[in-house]
Amino acid sequence: MKSSVITFPGSNCDRDMDVALTKFGFKNKMVWHNDQELPKSDLIVLPGGFSYGDYLRCGSMASKSKIMNSVINFAKSGGLVMGICNGFQILVEAELVPGVLLRNKYLQFICKNVHVKVDNKENTFFKNLDKKVLEFHIAHNEGNYFCTNDQLKEIEDNNQIAIYYCDQNGNTNDQINPNGSIKNIAGIFNKEKNVLGMMPHPERMIDESLSGEDGSIFFKNLLNNIK
């Protein structure tokens, strides 16, 4: 299976993502933001980082870069696209997934492990996953998911909420919400479920001795679903 990771100026999780994808069997290529065309890919990843120094709004500049025209076409034709952290911010700015990511409610940069509940397994990203709660890492300043009431209704009607912040038993409530996101939303799909944006970093949880293995579970399952 072939994947591509896009590197924007200021991306800093692109190589971690490359390591993770390669470790679990993807043939990965790194793609520069100024390129026009994507290599043939089964999965495109927009990595975390601080593209364009978070100028104007996080992800806003990157969402207009040359390669994004190809990424948008790829997504619109049903190709799998995943945006992690800053990649999620780029996806909302490119309007590939609904809503926006505001500054964290308590104005702090948050860097810690969190648990997320997988809500919807009827999609390529989470199908057949045998765990309901995963432990991932978050590191962000603007992860406070927000959308209009109309958007929220549409998101809920179409089952577009991918993952929620929760405790280790899968309970979602205000105390466990790290950043003020509406409904504890940590990740969201487009309507067709081929585009996933999420704040947590699965690529940081792929080594038992360094972190945890829930990222490994996620990537192995993803590869099997794409095969």
Binding site: K64, R103, L107, F146
Partner: protein, 80 residues
Amino acid sequence: MKVSAVITLKKDVLDPQGKVIHETLDGMGFNSVNEVRQGKYFEIDVNENDPKKAKDLVEDMCKKLLANLVIENYKIIETQ
């Protein structure tokens, strides 16, 4: 021609920075403040002499890049 645009957060969007600024002003003795909302201001020099065309151009920029219309409003405030 120079055109200015002001971007503000919509009414029901949380503005924690504005809140903190409000509290700080309060602490400094400015007790008559009802609310503070933080926004962005742009001065754009466009190569266009027709004021209407220049404003339209900046409006297009606001819609496509400068503002995110899910959370922000924009206002073209002056031409000179």
